[in-house]
């Protein structure tokens, strides 16, 4: 058996050795084809894959960083402000002709300006001279309404402001809130209004946008009107009381007492009206619109970077250069990312296909 095995092995060795020429000839033939297939098949390289992935991620990271900065500034621009404007600033359109942008004005200036620009609106009293005399003696009776619009990053801005109304001795009459927008209205004591403004400024700090619109309306004429009516009622009451003193019959007394009761009711009504007028002066009606800055990834079109980069002013030359660089870089990074991940592999595939076709054509 061992002899047969050895013989078989020797046969095998001899078979393997008797082909030298053909082996070399075949090698030469195959060499040309190996080159062709080198284009067709590539071995998988982990290092190439890792380089491609890391490079792509780096490009995307860079693109996002530039895009982030672009959006961060752009969110303050007209794109956001204008988006919010219809809801937040719509009251501008409704403001009366004597509206004032009073962010920097003191209340006294507001009142004075209002007095000068406002014509008496009451249809009860036309005595302008009486109004002026009264105001010289008692001071102006201004009913103020303030519209404030905020754009802020603070999530809890609306609820914080709502608490502010009550903590300052005011009253919150309405609160409507959604994810990104809130509308509040209420009244703040006039004496606490400055403090309220300070609290708002402290609340929104740096990255917010505040618009204030203060309207004032003089109600002195209404006060005078009520006062005059009260005087009339008081005089009438005195006269009826005097008549009651001298009434002889029960019918007369009953009638006079009924008239006195009616006068008392009218006087109570006027007292309430006076109190209401006093409250309208003592409390300022405040309407707030709070719009939260949307997510950075929310797309905005037609943004104007001027207001943001310049901090709501016209940009200077350096800021204009920054704006230009941002714009170019943003577009450039987007293009490069697209090229890196899509165009380059596509071109490589096309090149390999063309080269393979040429190789096979040459071999044929």
């Amino acid at each position: 058996m061992q002899e047969i095995k050895d013989s078989l092995k020797n046969i095998g060795k001899h078979f393997q050795k008797t082909q030298d020429n053909h082996q070399e000839l075949l090698r030469q033939k195959l060499s040309a084809r190996v080159d062709a297939y080198r284009v067709l098949v590539r071995s998988f390289s982990w290092s190439s894959f890792a380089a491609w992935s890391v490079g792509g991620c780096a490009m995307l990271f860079l693109a996002f960083q530039v895009h982030y900065r672009y959006q961060e500034y752009a969110l303050y621009t007209e794109g956001v402000v204008y988006d919010a404007e219809p809801a937040v600033f719509e009251e501008y359109a409704l403001a009366p002709s004597y509206e004032i942008d009073a962010y920097a004005l003191s209340e006294a200036d507001v009142a004075a300006d209002v007095i000068m620009r406002t014509s008496p609106s009451s249809n009860v009293s036309k005595n302008t001279g009486a109004i002026i005399d009264y105001e010289e003696e008692h001071g102006s009776m201004i009913e103020e309404q303030v519209n404030i619009a905020l754009l802020t990053r603070e999530d809890q801005a609306a609820s914080t402001i709502a608490e502010l109304f009550t903590s300052l001795g005011g009253h919150l009459s309405s609160l409507q809130q959604s994810d990104t927008y809130a509308s509040l209205s209420g009244s703040i004591p006039l004496s606490r209004l400055s403090f309220f403004y300070d609290q708002l400024d402290a609340l929104v700090k740096n990255d917010a946008f505040i618009e204030k619109n203060i309207r004032g309306q003089s109600i002195t004429s209404q006060v005078l009107d009520v006062s005059a009516r009260m005087d009339v009622l008081v005089a009438a009451q005195a006269e009826i009381a005097a008549q009651l003193q001298v009434a002889t019959t029960d019918e007369q007394k009953t009638s006079l007492r009924e008239r006195l009761d009616a006068l008392s009711q009218d006087m109570d009504t006027l007292v309430k009206e006076q109190q209401t007028l006093e409250d309208r002066v003592a409390y300022v009606e405040v309407s707030l619109s709070v719009a939260q800055l949307p997510s950075l990834w929310e797309a905005h079109n037609d943004v104007d970077l001027r207001y943001i980069v310049a901090g709501y002013d016209e940009p200077n030359i350096w800021q204009r250069i920054q704006l230009h660089i941002f714009s170019v870089l943003f577009v450039g990074v987007e293009v490069m990312s697209t090229a890196f991940w899509i165009l380059i592999p596509l071109l490589v595939l096309v090149w390999r296909y063309m080269k393979r076709r040429k190789m096979f054509r040459d071999l044929a």
């Binding site: 058996m1 001899h14 078979f15 082996q23 190996v34 297939y37």
Partner: protein
């Protein structure tokens, strides 16, 4: 790095392909030659085997447990089927075996056996003729093991049989050859 793992570098360096080529060409040639017993035809078949291997190199994968050698031999078997389909080489009787010996002698003489002793040559003729009395599987395992010089693991991958089974088949085949030769000597 084993030669089989050269596959993954084959097209980054063409020399790696020819390392495999140089390793397996003699084995493939011996296998095909032993099956066909005709030198020129064997050369043609071997050329086709390597051209097929090159054309389908992308479909080969080490992950499936196959080796490059087993893959090449599988291609060779497939090519041989086309060539040997019309030939029936099973020798059933002792007479037919004796009649085969001159044919094998003629065949082996084409292989330039000057350095082999005459007695050894005659044994070779007999062994090759006796291989035709084996079944296809037995002939296959003898050819792969001794003539092509493959290991049990490679043969197992080629024939899809366990090494233990192959060992038993091999032993049985060798016994058959021995019996055939000893009977015919008598």
């Amino acid at each position: 790095m084993s030669l089989d793992h050269c596959m993954f570098r084959i097209f980054s360096q063409s020399q790696d392909f020819f390392l495999l080529y140089d390793e397996y060409y003699p084995k493939i040639f011996a296998y095909v030659l032993a099956r066909l017993r005709h030198r020129e035809t064997a050369e043609d078949v071997v050329q086709q085997v390597f051209e097929q291997a090159l054309a389908n190199i992308a479909s080969f994968s080490l992950k499936k447990g196959a080796t490059f050698g087993s893959w090449l031999f599988a291609i060779a078997k497939h090519e041989l089927v086309n060539v040997t389909r019309a030939q029936s080489r099973v020798v059933a009787t002792s007479q037919e075996f004796l009649e085969r010996i001159p044919h094998e002698e003629t065949f082996l003489q084409t292989l330039l056996l000057e350095e082999v002793a005459i007695e050894e040559q005659y044994i070779w003729f007999q062994i090759l003729a006796a291989m035709d009395t084996l079944t296809d599987e037995e002939r296959e395992v003898i050819t792969l093991k001794y003539l092509a010089g493959m290991s049990y693991e490679d043969i197992s991958a080629i024939m899809h049989k366990k090494p233990n089974t192959l060992a038993v088949m091999l032993k049985r085949a060798l016994e058959k050859i021995r019996i055939t030769i000893s009977v015919c000597k008598k």
